[in-house]
Assembly symmetry: C2
Homo-oligomer: 400 residues x 2
Amino acid sequence: MAIVVQKYGGSSVGTTDKIKKVAETVVKRKKSGDDVVVVVSAMGDTTDDLIGIANEITNNPDKRELDALLSTGEMMSSALLAMAIKALGYDAISYTAYQIGIKTTGQHGKSLIDDIDGENIKKSVSEGKIVIVAGFQGINEEGHITTLGRGGSDTSAVAIAVKLDGMCEIYTDVDGIYGVDPRKYKDAHKLDEIDYEEMLELSSLGAQVMHSRSIELGQKYNIPIYVGLSNSDIRGTVIKGVNSMNMESKPVTGLATSDEDVAITIKDIENDINTVSSLFESVASKRINIDMISQTAPVNGKVNLSFTIPKVDLNECLDIIKPFYSNKGQIAIDEDITKFSVVGIGMKTTSGVASKMFKLLSENNIGVKMITTSEIRITCAIRQEDKIKAINAVAKDFNL
Amino acid sequence: MAIVVQKYGGSSVGTTDKIKKVAETVVKRKKSGDDVVVVVSAMGDTTDDLIGIANEITNNPDKRELDALLSTGEMMSSALLAMAIKALGYDAISYTAYQIGIKTTGQHGKSLIDDIDGENIKKSVSEGKIVIVAGFQGINEEGHITTLGRGGSDTSAVAIAVKLDGMCEIYTDVDGIYGVDPRKYKDAHKLDEIDYEEMLELSSLGAQVMHSRSIELGQKYNIPIYVGLSNSDIRGTVIKGVNSMNMESKPVTGLATSDEDVAITIKDIENDINTVSSLFESVASKRINIDMISQTAPVNGKVNLSFTIPKVDLNECLDIIKPFYSNKGQIAIDEDITKFSVVGIGMKTTSGVASKMFKLLSENNIGVKMITTSEIRITCAIRQEDKIKAINAVAKDFNL
């Protein structure tokens, strides 16, 4: 008899009717012989509604108290799901983070799960109960309620699966992971499986299907994570460790784009490693995330230095870098940036992916402004008007 | 520097604007030099709304899960009030029942507070923080969340005041305790003070200003409880131990009426103590509360036995007492019952209260169907149409 940890997102438990539907699905699984632990998000837009109420009180709510407030959303949905299951004649029990000892560290609003006691879950499961856990929350060393950040219930589910050595299934409103966003490319293929690293890259590049931390945990403890629709015959996607040496594996698994960045260029800056590193340190100290970096060849000991940052941080960043240039003419800001990335663990063993991609872009008259690469990804900055053309060309050729 | 425990009811924290108003009141008190601990109820109709949602899931929600659900209402309001106080520049912290160890015993939905750890409250108070506690809830021996029953936040507040050896102030939507309900008698007097026992009798007789258990706790530990409007110059009422030997004290402090009962009469039942006690035991075993009892003088070894029970229990009660009569003609049901009670600790030392009351009722042509008395109360069952006449006559004569 296996233990399965299922997570249902906010849209799956958005109404009492939907909660009853989830209860039926869970009971069906229990009847099939598996022990079931369910992690739930808050109903529908509850979290946003609670943030709205907090903002009526003050436009800068205390973070500890905001976490205390937001955690109630998942407490409600977990109690309601337990009621719904009991009403079907099956034994169930809901638990808050405190009751099962979900211990967290780090800041309010984006805490990390450090450990889970889990004895109460194990005891209840051994008594035949279906256990319902309030997702998204934990208790820190000081006994304060903390939350894990948007999408954090995914991480609650994976962490519990790790603790119980169980399977993990994430039920959401998409039917799986696609190589490219089906809203942007109509012929997109759904993946049967995807490697943890690929999924992490895609998540960080803007494919917001899963909470990144949940994938890191799955990878660390080698827990496969199924992602798909609940109560459906449509097969979803398994996130797992994929052997990159597999000859069958495609060199490129996924494609992601993001319009959230802006490029800053400082012209004629000293070609001096101390100057450049001091600039990047100043920016990083304000927690502004620099992604792509490029530099021209030196002319008379001076270079042009370009880098991208999130658009929301532009004004703060310009303040920080003021000491590094003497007049405004030295600064160029390019907001017409789409980050266009392809990801694939197969790149580790397949050469020529980059050259093929640049050839495709060039054939389609798409100019590349900046480039960065990692072992399993290639990212280009292109013009936003070229985005759809680039998606179509690359997705088709790489069969995504 | 005194510690004051203030409780704000659901209507006082019914909107975010009202919560901000409470925050200002609390901060004003803190500025005046007192340490302040605040117990809050859920915002406005939140508890009823949550019950409504539970009833959409099932018409008989599991009691443990219902408690888990309902407890979130007070968690929300306490976090919001803490935010509002911090936004005013004062330090505050919200606590759930778990975080301050409010230990309960007994059934879900009507648990009793057994003890409070309270160390976290004391520590936070000593750090200068205003402490906000989620009322109405506790944690039982098994670690489950329990609730204390409607109005239970009063009891949370008194119990915390006991633990901290502080003062207790209950802020509500009435400006104090009246000798008779001002909605029923326009000349009603507000009381400056009332004895715990009198308040308990009035509460059990239908004057639902306070949670009964809170008054019992106040009495047991001799903690005076102030009841009144918040942020107002209108002086409320103090519930405390009043010396019944005080010559100034009135013999009757309060008057209460209730239309929630029904009288059952069994005619020609054996005048046999075993039969009668066995009947009452059967009824009590189903937790049906028998209040007034009367019995006619025996004729040929038979008596007529009458008693009142809550209307809602009528059908169940009739089933239970079937073995005690042989035909339907033996049973009479009287739904036209108002329980009319006067209460006063002064009755212990003042004679003639009963005779004066019966004289007043008789002068006003009000028939009395049944009578019960205790050391500090007299209750008559009268016809419902006589209720207002009886209130006017008795309230005026006893100057209530």
